[in-house]
């Protein structure tokens, strides 16, 4: 931990339910990780954020260190976001943690096949939930090292395709 908030890398939380957002942020609060979280409430906005377009055109440069991705969302769902990210040479470097309510095996397999880095079923019990989110935040935002890569200013071909969806 560098102590300085400015240096703490960004977490992108893709979650359509504001209550889940609030609970997740509450969980991340303990290590002050909540202040570095960017929240979008659907898959399309997640891609806008990642490609710095639409309402995120003016956001500061830099990719999040991890994307916490819900699956069931309006417009683009989590799997579609993940699929787009993993076909983009730059975005596929960003770790993605699927944060979902579904314990269904087919979902789990599909996400791993597509290239998610972790699959976490949100515990119903609040303390377990807090615990899980905290661990995720600490691991991905603090412990895990992200690769250093050259900035790509031009939106990739994959991103152009996504807008049509």
């Amino acid at each position: 931990m560098n102590g300085s908030i400015a240096n703490v890398k960004k977490i992108l939380l893709v979650e359509d339910d504001p209550r889940d957002v609030e609970l997740t942020l509450a969980a991340l609060q303990e290590y002050h990780l909540d202040r570095t979280v960017a929240v979008v409430d659907n898959g399309a906005e997640a891609l806008d954020y990642l490609y710095r377009r639409g309402k995120f055109k003016t956001r500061p440069e830099g990719d999040p260190v991890v994307v916490l991705l819900d699956n069931k969302m309006p417009k683009l769902n989590g799997l579609e976001v993940l699929t787009t990210m993993k076909t983009d040479s730059r975005l596929k470097m960003i770790p993605v943690v699927v944060l979902t309510s579904s314990r269904e095996t087919p979902d789990l397999l599909e996400f791993y096949r597509t290239g998610c880095n972790a699959y976490v079923v949100k515990p119903v019990n609040f303390s377990e939930f807090i615990n899980a989110i905290k661990q995720l935040g600490v691991f991905w935002a603090i412990i895990n090292e992200v690769p250093v890569h050259e900035e790509i200013e031009e939106p990739s071909a994959a991103a152009a395709g996504v807008e049509e969806i």
Binding site: D20, N71, K72, S101, S102, K122, V124, N125, F126
Partner: protein, 499 residues
């Protein structure tokens, strides 16, 4: 010979009378010398005569003897001949007897032959009668045709009724003359072929009856010899009903297949709906629950201190209820998975599996007095993890319901079930159950005790039953209130081990 004898006797008589006259003359003294000489002479003559007669007699005697001898010889010969004759007679008689015996035998045989002839004649008459009856009563049409003319010699009632004719209308016609057969090949062709091949058959021939109905028949014609005449016998089988039945079967099969397909599609839809339902339960119901629990906790953290004791208790109830609902949802999902997950069958040593399972309960049973009685258990073929789930459920039940016992006894054994299955029993001396509700035990979320008595959602036994059913076995229970319970499950042993 008798004649000779009588002559001889007369002479002897005359000879006897002579001496008496001689004696009378000797008594005369005057003439003594001359007389004496005369008498001597006479005597001499008489002697001579006597001697001559004696000689003659002798000769005669000799002759007689000779004759006698000859007679005797002849007699002997005659006797011999008689004997021979008798012997021949005997032989002849014997032969006659034999001949008579043979004759008798021959007569017997003749009689037997006659009897047989009579019987065979009767048999023939009976056979004719039987044939006639068959002909009259047959439920196949029979047509007798003259091979030369192709005319109908006889037709049985079945056929003329079938075609809507009378016997008189059909007899002596050729079959080509009759409407129903008009479309069959020309009679000449059929006759030609039948002469050549001895048999002609037509399958599924369509005939039109006199009243215009279409009937389907199979027709087989063959040649046979009746005395010195060659005849054709046609057998005509009405297959209309059979064809209708076949059609019906075909139609029903198509219908059945269609229904199966529809049903399968419906089941598939139902299955998909269930999948969607279970997904929805998994995802959509757990979300709100998480929120209830999360915000109740946040509320407690943020405002717990300022809430009244009652307020805190309410908050606790909200959390408890939400957590219980979470367990129910999790159980339901588990139950759904138990039914859906693919089975991986291997040889499972139940004794090992029980031992393994029991070690999981060590923490739970700490401080309790429990006598475990684990008997020798067999190896079965099944899904190890699912069977482990069965044991976990049943053992955990036994532990739960013996909780009130100072000394709990749990016995796991193997009883000989009916052929082709292995039966495992788990007996406890716990709270038992009312046998009237035994059938409810295995239902989803069915509970025979209150939450306060024994906690649980009531999914365990439903899982047990579902797993056992998937293995092709049965699950059942026996028990009485406060008298312990025994749970049984069976696993088929039919499949020989393949691994």
């Amino acid at each position: 010979m008798n004649i000779e004898d009588s002559t001889f006797t007369e002479r002897r008589k005359s000879a006897t009378s002579e001496p008496a006259s001689i004696l009378a003359r000797e008594n005369d003294p005057g003439a003594s010398q001359i007389g004496r000489d005369l008498r001597v002479e006479r005597a001499e003559i008489r002697t001579e005569q006597a001697e001559s007669r004696t000689a003659q007699a002798k000769t005669r005697t000799e002759q007689a003897e000779t004759r006698t001898e000859q007679a005797e010889t002849r007699m002997e010969q005659a006797e011999t001949r008689t004997e021979q004759a008798e012997s021949r007679t005997e032989q002849a008689e014997a032969r006659t007897e034999q001949a008579e015996t043979r004759m008798e035998q021959a007569e017997n045989r003749t009689e037997q032959a006659e009897a047989r002839t009579e019987r065979s004649e009767q048999t023939i008459r009976e056979s004719e009668l039987r044939y006639r009856r068959l002909f009259e009563a047959a439920t196949d049409g029979i047509l007798i045709l003259d091979v030369e003319t192709g005319r109908i010699n006889d037709v049985n009632p079945f056929l003329f009724n079938l075609l809507g004719f009378t016997h008189a209308e059909m007899i002596y016609k050729t079959i080509g003359d009759l409407g129903p057969f008009r479309n069959v090949e020309p009679i000449e062709g059929m006759l030609e072929r039948i002469k050549l091949q001895g048999i002609v058959s037509y399958d599924d021939l369509s005939l039109e009856t006199r009243d215009g109905r279409r009937i389907a028949v199979d027709l087989v014609s063959n040649v046979y010899q009746s005395g010195d005449k060659t005849m054709i016998r046609c057998n005509i089988r009405d297959i209309t009903e059979r064809k209708r039945a076949e059609g019906e079967i075909l139609r029903l099969n198509v219908e059945l297949e269609q229904r199966v397909a529809e049903r399968t599609a419906q089941l598939q839809i139902a299955n998909e709906e269930l999948e969607a339902f279970s997904y929805s339960v998994s995802h959509d119901l757990r979300g709100p629950l998480r929120h209830i629990l999360g915000f109740a906790d946040l509320l407690k953290m943020d405002a717990g201190a300022s809430l009244s004791e009652k307020g805190n208790r309410h908050l606790g109830s909200i959390s408890e209820a939400a957590e219980r609902m979470g367990s129910l949802i999790d159980d339901l999902l588990t139950f759904s998975r138990v039914g859906k997950s693919p089975m991986q069958k291997t040889e499972v040593n139940l004794e090992e599996l029980v031992g393994e399972t029991l070690s999981d309960f060590q923490q739970e049973t700490k401080g309790r007095t429990i006598t475990w009685d684990i008997r020798k258990l067999p190896v079965v073929r099944g899904d190890r993890s699912l069977l482990r789930m069965v044991l976990v459920n049943l053992i955990s039940n036994a532990l739960k319901f013996t909780h009130g016992r100072a000394h709990a006894k749990i016995e796991i054994g193997h009883i000989s079930g009916s052929e082709g299955e292995t039966v495992i029993s788990i007996r406890d001396n716990g709270a038992g159950f009312d046998p009237r509700y035994a059938n409810k035990l295995f239902g989803v979320f069915q509970r025979l005790h209150t939450q306060a008595e024994f906690e649980g959602t009531g999914i365990g036994l439903a899982n047990v039953q579902r797993i056992i059913h998937r293995h092709g076995g049965r699950a059942w229970a026996e028990g009485i209130v406060d008298g312990g319970a025994t749970f049984y499950f069976s696993i088929p042993t039919g499949q020989p081990p393949s691994k």
